[in-house]
């Protein structure tokens, strides 16, 4: 490794530890949220350094962007006296055992990692690539070899949306908004670009870094920006169309997973000649659903707002 790279990595790791510390020990919640967002951004850089651009894309869009927007929106809805409230500080005395425990845990993890077989499952994935139906190993793992895991991830997201929506109505209507003419102008410019990038990443997922999760996150970023700029869910979209969009990814996944059994296959074992098309369908449906689900999480409840226009 080049010395400059080693220096960069060391600085990156150090900043991440400092930011993580600040996130937990910040003077107030706002600082904690900002530290968390910066931590997400640096985590994305760390994934780039580990040559995992797929995860870096998803982390940058989700960890730094959308989670930050969610946390800031939540902060904005807290009562002012709680928003600025000092976070409870851990007593100085209790820190030492935790530090020791953390160090011991890190050492154990390191030992376990070093003891693992070095290339991991990489070889097996690469040897199975001819039957995968896509050229990108990451997409092959996510949507073919380990599609079951991805199916469950999407199911968990949908459950989260259902849980949040069952708590009450959307909270956007009650938030105060700043008169800021520049934001809608920015959204008008960025929204089409973000939708275009969503489809670019969906298409690119077949042969390079990209795929359903980063694409969905970008779509959600566009939709959340539009919501922040004052757009509301159009009335004809609420109800059935919105629910269909939310469930589309999971539905497509399950239908295909069960459907391939009709050809005499096993649950989720795509027949190789149909694999590219089936994966493309799942990828597009999952990407769009992830985008809508993330936006639904931001809405904080089923949209009931009847006034206001759309984008």
């Amino acid at each position: 490794m080049h010395p400059a790279e080693a220096l960069f990595d060391a600085l990156l790791l150090l900043s991440m530890v400092v930011l993580a510390w600040q996130g937990v020990h910040a003077r107030n919640m706002f600082r904690a949220v900002v530290s968390f967002m910066m931590f997400g951004l640096l985590t994305a850089v760390a994934w780039v350094r580990l040559e995992a651009p797929d995860i870096a894309l998803a982390e940058a869009a989700l960890g730094a962007g959308l989670t930050g927007a969610l946390l800031l929106a939540t902060l904005g809805r807290l009562k002012p006296e709680r928003r600025g409230a000092r976070l409870q500080r851990a007593a100085k005395l209790s820190m030492l055992p935790w530090l020791a425990l953390g160090l011991a845990g890190t050492m154990t993890l390191l030992a376990v990692t070093l003891a693992l077989p070095a290339p991991g499952l990489g070889e097996r994935v690469l040897s199975a690539m001819p039957e995968a139906g896509v050229d990108s190993p990451v997409t092959a793992v996510l949507l073919n070899f380990r599609a079951w895991d991805t199916l469950l991830e999407i199911a968990v997201m949908l459950l989260a949306v259902i849980a949040i929506w069952s708590l009450g109505q959307d909270v956007l209507a009650s938030t105060s908004r700043l008169p800021a003419p520049s934001l809608p102008a920015l959204v008008r410019l960025l929204f089409p670009l973000l939708v275009l990038s969503t489809f670019y990443l969906l298409w690119r997922g077949g042969h390079g870094p990209g795929g359903a999760f980063p694409a969905g996150a970008l779509l959600a970023a566009g939709l959340v920006l539009a919501l922040l700029a004052g757009a509301r869910v159009p009335e004809r979209m609420t109800g059935a169309p919105l629910r269909c969009a939310l469930a589309a990814g999971l539905l497509a996944f399950i239908i295909i997973a069960v459907g391939v059994m009709a050809e005499g296959g096993v649950f989720f074992a795509y027949p190789p000649r149909h694999a590219p098309m089936l994966i493309a369908i799942v990828e597009i449906a999952a990407g769009l659903s992830i985008g809508v689900m993330l936006t639904a999480l931001f809405l904080g409840g089923e949209p009931t707002d009847t006034q206001g226009g759309s984008t």
């Binding site: 700043l178 800021a180 520049s182 934001l183 960025l190 670009l193």
Partner: protein
């Protein structure tokens, strides 16, 4: 030749980043800090992107660098305006000598 010019542009950009950060740390209130940060950083990023474009041997890459700069200009300007408006709305008065 273009490699040296590119390196000079990048170093120049880093100097602007440094001055913007100095302004963020040293200026008295949110408005003056925004003023220092947004302008210096936008120019700095432009210089770094131009320097990297001189190093790139691929037209697509240069186009992407230009696109990055343009997007950051637009979003940076909007963010600065939003932060300044939020600060005004929260009753923060601009600093006066």
């Amino acid at each position: 030749m273009s490699t040296i010019a590119g390196a000079i542009l990048i170093v120049l950009g880093l100097l602007f980043f440094l001055s913007g950060t100095l302004g963020l740390l040293r200026f008295p209130d949110v408005f003056t800090r925004l003023h220092a940060l947004s302008k210096a950083d936008t120019l700095a990023l432009g210089l770094v992107c131009a320097g990297l474009a001189l190093h790139a041997d691929d037209g697509t890459l240069q186009l992407k660098l230009l696109l990055i700069w343009l997007l950051v200009i637009v979003s940076g300007a909007t963010c600065s305006s939003l932060i300044a408006r939020a600060a005004l709305a929260h009753g923060i008065r601009p600093w006066q000598r």
